[in-house]
């Protein structure tokens, strides 16, 4: 059975970099253009995973496990963040019956 790093190395590193960059840009665009809070959340997750992918790829190519360990940390933190974030969104919805960020403009001055 092939080792996971070997599998990863079957594809050239450049491809991973371009793919991650594309994924990250999609995430950023999503955050900037969408107004639904849940979609924004998903876009943020997309950005995080773009980074995770890149870390895993580099970790394999450099034969250094530190990158993969980082990925685990990021996944754990992201899970916690989603839990809190979704709870907030639920509370917002209960209060104003919408999760449109365009309407949430009272937090100023």
């Amino acid at each position: 059975m092939q080792q996971i790093p070997d599998v990863i190395r079957q594809i050239p590193l450049n491809y991973y970099v371009f793919f991650s960059a594309a994924l990250f840009c999609i995430g950023v665009t999503g955050v900037l253009t969408r107004r639904n809070a849940i979609i924004i959340f998903m876009s943020v997750e997309l950005m995080l995973n773009a980074v995770n992918l890149l870390l895993a790829a580099f970790s394999s190519y450099k034969a250094d496990p530190a990158g993969q360990i980082f990925v685990f940390f990021i996944m754990a933190v992201a899970a916690a963040e989603v839990a809190v974030g979704l709870a907030i969104i639920v509370m917002i919805y209960r209060n104003i019956q919408t999760i449109d960020t365009g309407i949430l403009n009272k937090l100023k001055w």
């Binding site: 900037l32 960020t101 365009g102 403009n105 009272k106 100023k108 001055w109």
Partner: protein, 635 residues
């Protein structure tokens, strides 16, 4: 602990007991404690005087300041000068303490008064006993403080408080000069001990040295303040706001002679500065004449005596100016006797008159106050320079030395002495002779003072009568005891010790005695023969009005110094402080507030905008961080 350190310690203990326990110590005990402290110091001084061998004794208490080579110690020096001052201060001081027990008996601040009096004695003793200029300065400042406290003793009267402040501020001006003088001594001699400084002078310092001149001039400025000379004399007449025993002790017998003590102590320095001596002499003469002329028209019994004190101090400085140090000191001594007596007598009169001080409302008091009258008469004769009382000997000695120096000065000084005799007899006649001019109530209340007040009067009267015999000149068959006793003090200088021409001296003496008696006669003619009484304030006119208002010197100082300074501070307050400083500080605050009220509008609450700005900023930061890398890529 030696006897020397005990002398200042007694009054200090007295002050601490009365001062700390002022509401515990019973009223009668407070006076007794203070008086006992003064008497104990007097006894120590007498014992020291009896056992004095002629050698200078230094009693070191502790090293105070040691910086590099400069060592300032808290130590006392006992020699001829400090011994004589000690006897005067503790002797007259004790008498005045006894007197105060009677005079202040009805006063609410009895204990406070005695604690201040003891504190004053302590500082005055430090002043004359210190073996260096710094200890003298401690005493110098301390007596100024006590003078302030005692002038403003009845502090519920605002005018008295103002008088106290005036005295303090004027003294501070002088003290600044004194302090600068001490600094110059330190930088020039590297020591402040009298013995070191005078020893150092012996090594080739020539007369007319500029540094010595500045040192002596600065020290003299200190003396001007403390001893009330032109231009810093105006505080002394106002200082009469204090209780009368205070005027007698501080503003006649002891504190105001501190300046003369200081000059005599530094005689080695002054003898090397002829320019300064010249200034000292003429300032003294001018003060003597100015004050005497003001004294002629004053109607307040204590004001007359105050101007008389200023005038007599002027005589002493005139004597110092012609290097007649021992004669000046002789006058300090006799003046302490008769001026203290005059003030205490005045106090007795005021006491009897229920706090009336205006001599126009007195008259004929000799029947009601016989002891006060006779003692006052003796003091008046003594101060007028009529033989054989004390003032005659001391004043004529000064006049004789002044004549040797400059006949012009002598002529002016004689005019001053004629005025002295005139205003003193005017005071005597208006107060004790003629008809009583006060109210019926006052007349009914007239009484001789109690024994505790009359006893000091009698003792001082005896001293005023015989005080002159301590120093009878050769001319009159004496042996100048005091001058001989003090001679070792002037070993480093070339003080004049003798009158050149005895027949000339005799002539001068006769002239001045005749002049004094004549002016007493004029006073008799005016105030007893013609029974004239000074007119009310509003009717005074012409030159007399100018003099009655003290030549408007106070107003002049007010215009020259006080008003410009207060105008300047007003300017600084309203322009510099208000318009410049406040504007700058408040302006910065307002600017920040204004800018931030604009800047906060950027925060408009729309999440999309925040996110956009955030992403844009991150992009900019990344591009900026990687700019080198990107540029290399393009090449």
């Amino acid at each position: 602990m030696s006897l020397i350190t005990l002398i200042p310690l007694f009054p200090l203990i007295g002050f601490l007991i009365n001062g700390i326990g002022f509401n515990i110590v019973p009223k009668n005990l407070a006076g007794i404690i203070s008086t006992a402290a003064a008497l104990a110091s007097f006894c120590c001084a007498v014992v020291l005087f009896m056992n004095f061998s002629g050698e200078v004794q230094i009693a070191k208490v502790f090293d105070w300041i040691t910086v590099g080579k400069l060592n300032i110690s808290m130590s006392f020096q006992i020699d001829q000068l400090s011994l004589l001052m000690l006897l005067i201060i503790t002797g007259v001081g004790s008498l005045i303490h006894i007197y105060s027990m009677g005079y202040m008996s009805h006063d609410a601040g009895y204990g406070k008064f005695f604690s201040f009096l003891n504190l004053f004695l302590f500082f005055m003793l430090l002043l004359v006993m210190g073996s260096n200029y710094v200890v003298m300065f401690i005493g110098w400042e301390g007596v100024g403080l006590c003078s302030y406290l005692l002038i403003g003793f009845w502090n519920k009267n605002t005018n008295y408080g103002t008088a106290a402040r005036k005295a303090f501020i004027m003294n501070r001006i002088g003290d600044l000069g004194f302090l600068l003088g001490i600094f110059m001594i330190i930088s020039h001699f590297g020591s402040v001990e009298y013995l070191d400084v005078f020893e150092d002078l012996g090594h080739g310092t020539v007369a007319g040295d500029k540094t010595i001149m500045w040192i002596t001039l600065l020290l003299f400025i200190g003396a001007m303040g403390k001893s009330a000379q032109i231009p810093l004399y105006t505080w002394l007449p106002d200082a009469m706001a204090g209780p009368t025993p205070v005027s007698a002790l501080i503003h006649a017998a002891t504190m105001v002679t501190a300046g003369i003590y200081m000059v005599i102590r530094s005689n080695a320095l002054y003898s090397l500065a002829p320019e300064t001596l010249h200034i000292v002499g003429w300032v003294g003469l001018a003060t003597a004449l100015l004050a005497a002329s003001i004294g002629i028209f004053q109607n307040d019994i204590k004001k007359v005596l105050a101007y008389s004190t200023v005038s007599q101090l002027g005589y002493m400085f005139m004597g110092l100016g012609v290097m007649a140090y021992s004669s000046s000191f002789f006058h300090v001594m006799t003046h302490a006797f008769f001026k203290a007596l005059l003030f205490l007598g005045a106090g007795s009169v005021i006491h009897a008159m229920s706090d009336e001080q205006d001599i126009r409302k007195m008259g004929g008091l000799r029947k009601a106050l016989p002891i006060t009258f006779w003692t006052f008469l003796i003091a008046t004769i003594a101060i007028s320079g009529i033989p054989p009382f004390a003032g005659f000997f001391s004043k004529d000695e000064i006049l004789a030395h002044v004549y040797e120096h400059s006949p012009l000065m002598w002529g002016l000084a004689l005019a001053g002495s004629v005025m002295t005799s005139f205003y003193m007899f005017r005071l005597l006649f208006l107060t004790f002779f003629g008809e009583f001019r006060g109210t019926k109530e006052q007349e009914h209340h007239l009484h001789e003072s109690p024994l505790s007040m009359t006893l000091p009067l009698m003792i001082l009267a005896v001293l005023s009568a015989v005080g002159g015999f301590f120093n009878v000149p050769h001319l009159l068959g004496g042996d100048s005891k005091l001058a001989n006793f003090m001679a070792p003090l002037f070993a480093h200088s070339h003080a004049v010790a003798h009158a050149a021409d005895e027949s000339l001296e005799k002539t001068l003496m006769i002239i001045s005695v005749i002049a004094a008696i004549l002016s007493a006669g004029i006073a008799y003619y005016l105030f007893i023969g013609k029974k004239s009484v000074p007119v009310a304030d509003s009717k005074v006119a012409g030159l007399q009005k100018v003099i009655y208002n003290k030549y408007y010197i106070d107003e002049l100082y007010d215009t020259i110094f006080v008003k410009p300074i207060s105008a300047l501070s007003k300017f600084f307050y309203s322009v510099i402080d208000f318009l410049v400083i406040d504007l700058a500080i408040e302006g910065i605050g307002k600017l920040v507030k204004g800018l931030s009220s604009e800047a906060r509008l950027m925060q408009d609450g729309r999440t999309g905008v925040y996110l956009f700005v955030m992403v844009l900023s991150i992009a900019v930061i990344i591009v900026w961080t990687l700019k080198d890398f990107i540029l290399v890529g393009f090449k």
